[in-house]
Symmetry: C2
Subunit: 445 residues, 2 copies
């Protein structure tokens, strides 16, 4: 047993658990316990029973306990537009979506859409999301009320959008945003230049300068479609998105969403800059954007995390689907069923996401001292029986149906599949009520 001392009463103990730690060795504890201390961190972890004085005990009844999933690329508020533009290309989809967003998105609407997204995410075992969306104050409010970790910050793109601020005013607003002190997870310390196709070099450099002054992290779309590659080459003198990000000082430790159409030189630049790639297979395959070179990225030491992308292109916030699509597709494309083995896929959905967000010292694995962000799967799910290797079970059989309990920062936010921090009927009603506006915004075009 590993543990640290705590003078105060423990918050929570989880017993009879098959603990999938996702630590550096991929340790699995076949029958163990995990204790959450008074501060919301994992205080003890070990085989069998572990001494504790927690008031609340969860009996996992032999089921898998694992780190909460980390969705490293999404647009949470986009749930409002789920299923609005299907069986079409990214370009056609954006041409349909963006005007609808301008017409429908108020702070209240973004809040409703983001709260629905938090409900969907938490019920599906996602405990942290890196969000990129308009009016990001709504996401922070939902993070506070729902308990899901949401990392976010101001977006930059050249369109009027629902936040029609001229660039300089937007930059000033972003600076105010960054000046607010961050929490320990740095959830507000982000800037999100949309992409190198929707921003010119001068603006990209100004964003990099601001980021540098506040040590802000960068979240950006890169190399998603062939159309993007052509647009970036035309706009930026034949360069690739990765070259432009590097030249404008935005690549260092950046989170690169998609990362599909990468040259060998691009991958070397990404590796040299310790940037992460977030693979979003549901969106990439559904939109026929392309297949990311995951194996090559990993071979060259690039950290690869998983994302759902927005629920209007995905069409959901389901990282279990991403796990299946990522693993099976890479095996298929490599003509080799041995590549991306189960533990590697599990890492992509957990610790690699934490690494991308630069909070792997806090979350992403179950280890003493880390924050207690974890999920307990359903012991009675027929799909998970038998289980000879829990990493294989996670990579090939678990779905969101199997997420029984969800704990974030030591707080139980889902218990027996029921959300404890979000009023399900109220958020469903709010989003349904916006449906007519969404449809009208499309039909009126």
């Amino acid at each position: 047993m590993t543990s640290v001392n705590s003078a105060e009463q423990d918050l929570l103990a989880i017993v009879n658990a098959q603990i999938v730690t996702v630590d550096v060795s991929g340790t699995v504890i076949a029958n163990g316990s995990l204790v959450v201390g008074s501060n919301g961190a994992i205080r003890a972890l070990g085989k069998g029973s572990v001494p504790h004085d927690a008031l609340e005990t969860i009996d996992a009844r032999g089921a898998i306990v694992m780190p909460g999933l980390i969705n490293a690329h999404t647009h949470l508020g986009m749930t409002l537009f789920r299923g609005l533009g299907d069986d079409m290309s990214l370009e056609d989809f954006l041409a349909r979506l963006m005007p609808a967003e301008c017409k429908v998105l108020s702070p209240e609407a973004v809040h409703a859409g983001t709260e629905l997204a938090a409900l969907e995410s938490l019920l599906g075992g996602i405990t942290t999301s890196l969000d990129m969306y308009y009016l990001p104050e709504a996401a922070l409010a939902v993070a506070m009320s729902s308990g899901m970790r949401i990392q976010t910050g101001p977006n930059f793109l050249e369109s009027d959008g629902p936040e029609p601020l001229p660039f300089n005013e937007r930059l000033a607003w972003a600076e105010k945003w960054l000046a607010v002190p961050r929490d320990s997870a740095g959830s507000t310390g982000w800037l999100a230049p949309h992409s190198t196709y929707l921003l010119g070099e001068d603006h990209l450099r100004q964003i990099a300068d601001l980021a540098s002054r506040y040590e802000a992290r960068i979240n950006v779309h890169a190399a998603e479609t062939v159309g993007e590659m052509q647009a970036v080459a035309a706009r930026h003198g034949g360069r690739t998105p990765i070259q432009v990000l590097s030249d404008t000082n935005l690549l260092r430790r950046a989170v690169l969403a998609h990362g599909i159409h990468l040259s060998d030189a691009d991958i070397a630049l990404i590796a040299a800059n310790n940037a992460s790639v977030v693979h979003c297979p549901a969106s990439n395959f559904k939109l026929a954007s392309g297949v990311a070179r995951i194996l090559d990225l990993q071979r060259l030491g690039v950290n690869v995390a998983l994302g759902t992308d927005g629920p209007a292109s995905g069409n959901d916030l389901d990282l279990w689907i991403a796990i299946r699509l990522a693993g099976y597709m890479q095996k298929m494309m490599a003509h080799d069923p041995t590549v991306l083995p189960a533990l590697e896929i599990v890492r992509m959905a957990t610790i690699n996401g934490a690494r991308a967000l630069q909070i792997d010292h806090l979350i992403g694995s179950l280890e003493v001292g880390k924050r207690a962000d974890l999920i307990v799967l359903d012991a009675d799910s027929p799909s998970l029986v038998p289980s000879f290797d829990p990493h294989v079970t996670i990579a090939t059989a678990v779905t969101r149906a199997d997420v029984c309990h969800v704990i974030v920062d030591g707080r139980v936010v889902v218990k027996n599949h029921m959300p404890l921090t979000i009023d399900r009927q109220s958020v469903l009603s709010a989003v349904r009520a916006l449906g007519a506006d969404v449809l009208a915004s499309v039909n009126s075009r």
Copy 2:
């Protein structure tokens, strides 16, 4: 409203439903009712409320009601070996699996594995499965007790297996099997020659002869891997599996599992013989077997259904995963997000499966006079809100988490996510108890 008269009391009414009929026009009834008559058939279907005298009413509360899913290729009893051979090729997997099957499979073990499979299938919205496995009497017993439709029949392959009968005795046993009168769905009228790589031409012809005498339907693996193509060419004078099946009179209206490595001539033969191809994307991609030419098959008029394959290669019995993998992968490989649109995928998982099994006059769509095999999705699932087009919702957002009620032949077998016909704890215990034997069977090799 469409309806037929019935003198006796209705069994069941489903109201406030978004009815996805999957009829020939893809009709959706935005707010409707469906009445199941005393005989277990759909007696009436229409907008708003429909007159009925049913004792039991299910309020769908606006959720999608659709035909039960049809799993047109699986090996149900193989749940016992789930996750036993992962991150390896089909050939390596079979070399591991087949000896384990010989050691572990008793009639009781196959029954336990099949009952677990029925539990998993029904909870996930599958109401009919075409099974291919040893000791098929177990599957019929589970069909009877669980209420899931299982179609099955004797297997033929050249290995000792858990049924070590010499070929002639096996043929005689199969004839006795076929001589038992079928029910209206013909659930026992099947013969399953494993494949053209595990059977010689003489045996294939004898199976075809028997099938012809009893009008039995044929369920066979075909064109799954490159290794199979080479083995069949070597064994059968350079022919393809499809040519061999055609030459041995086994191709007519056959159900061809996988159908990946098909030439244009093979596809033309399949079309000319009104055979069906069952696409099993989870297994095919996970094992890196290949990507079936779904679009070409459809273009030439071949009926394409969906299957999970066995849960030891899959690793689950989840047709929602198959729906995602099939749709997204075909879009990706075609570099065209418009191919295999949502309604087409929904057809593959429902009516096309019924057509493959030659029972599309009974099930596969919601129409008056057909058997009441249907599922009611969860009105409160955040992943399904909003829903602007229910076919898109089904093809891109539903998972087994969302299957709320399941009805087969008018009988409610799952209610509020709880199985009514299977004792969950008892079957989970039985399968867990066999786990040690399964592990020992592998370790002792």
